[in-house]
Symmetry: C2
Subunit: 275 residues, 2 copies
């Protein structure tokens, strides 16, 4: 499986993707799913992929080949982003068909889904989800993000936080949290996480980083996010039967939280499970 | 669909269930999925259900009937919770079989899944997930919660927060958040939310409430949880290219967040979507 999320806010675009691919639970590898296409000053795109890895790698290779040919229809030849999305959909369909033709029994799913985002000079940035059929939908101010792959675990934090007014870096932190929630809760999505930002008007990839478990931001999320959430939970309103806190916002008045990391403990043994 | 979660912490048990049932997107109703069985001073149980509604209602009715018969094998006749879980599994299987026998083509799925939790005098509280086959698994200190139904959206907050040391009411707030995350992100799970607590040693249902959208706790979650999360996101570490905040914990030093609720606005029109 895979999890990729693209976010479109007023300040620009955020892209985040995991790197785990698996043919089965015991055939797990790391492959890049976030690909950048950068023509500084004119246009910049990011394509993220979920689904059949052979299909997506073929599609990405074709996008790169076409872009090098000044006479070809390519990422560089269109004036509008929706035309680029249509073209990427064509390349995706062709890549699926080629693989599918070699499998007359249709036992292998060669489909893939893409997220395409970027900006062409003269337009504002945009974000599209390209379906296996080659058709596509755009993000909108009401739904300023698009997901592919294992999308459910990471959806609530996006639904609660991301709006067009969200600052670009806050949206990026939110994307990392969305990935981290998924990675914690599902084995088929894994580190490292690739992150790219396109700030509106930059017409290039503004920032691109790979986050490993020991990257400071990622490590800090692991160290502090649970604690921040725990404190936030404790500042929610009391139930009617609970003693009312003098000031529910004052988490410091609550008894201290137990430590999250404890030294090696004695094995609690079997009696602590079922009875 | 459905979403129910049971949590077992040192202080006791929390049960939370939504109430939406749907045969299809246009056949949506409200039905209770959280059922209490209370024999104060001796034992108390909560059963939550996901799956075929006819099956689960039949199973619950049979559990109630058996418990009224002092000679029957019933929720009242066993000395251990694991035996109660086994018995509930038998009743569940029999209820599925009865419905399934009337459908020779097997086109309708009559299966259901249950969460059973409670305490019998002389034992500590326990929590079980009863599968459609009638077998079951218990919660454990390492995995102190069990979910049935649409479980993915609400899993990250449980994974990040709930531990055996978590206070009972904090676990209950966490369960409500887990439900709320699911309700926001998935149409098949809906309000009101039923919540029940069994405090260890009480040997009765310690608290039972139904939360509607305008119940203070629930309304407050809607009003403040997103804001608390947003503030927490903004106190995560800066990216290397961002100006470093003097004190990353000091959210008040950050520019104020834009309001989440705005008055009616002019329709932004079509140009704000695809391009």
């Amino acid at each position: 499986m895979t999890y990729c999320v693209g976010i479109e806010v007023d300040e620009g675009l955020v892209f985040a993707a995991d790197t785990r691919t698996n043919a089965s639970l015991d055939d797990v590898r790391v492959h890049r799913k976030l690909h950048v296409f950068e023509y500084p000053g004119d246009r910049a795109f990011v394509v993220m992929s979920a689904g059949n890895l052979a299909t997506t790698q073929l599609a990405i290779s074709r996008l790169r080949r076409d872009a090098e040919d000044p006479d070809a229809r390519s990422l560089r030849s269109f004036r509008h982003l929706f035309e680029v999305a249509e073209y990427v959909g064509e390349v995706l369909v062709a890549s699926q068909v080629q693989a599918g033709n070699s499998d007359p029994h249709g036992g292998i799913n060669t489909q893939a889904t893409l997220i395409l985002g970027g900006q062409i000079a003269g337009e504002r940035p945009g974000l599209y989800l390209v379906y296996p059929l080659g058709n596509c939908i755009a993000a909108s101010p009401e739904t300023p993000y698009l997901q592919i792959g294992e999308s459910k675990y990471g959806k609530p934090i996006l639904d609660r936080i991301v709006r067009p007014e969200t600052a670009l870096e806050d949206a990026a932190r939110c994307a990392v949290l969305s990935l981290d929630s998924t990675i914690r809760s599902n084995l088929s999505v894994g580190l490292p996480v690739d992150l790219a930002l396109i700030r509106a008007g930059d017409l290039r990839i503004s920032q691109q980083v790979r986050l490993e478990a020991d990257t400071p931001l990622y490590a800090e999320i692991h160290d502090t996010w649970s604690r921040k959430l725990e404190n936030a939970v404790r500042t929610l309103p009391r139930f009617p039967w609970e003693p009312q806190a003098a000031d529910t916002e004052e988490a410091s008045a609550l008894p201290p939280l137990p430590p999250r990391r404890v030294p090696a403990v004695k094995d609690p043994g079997d009696q602590s499970a079922q009875q």
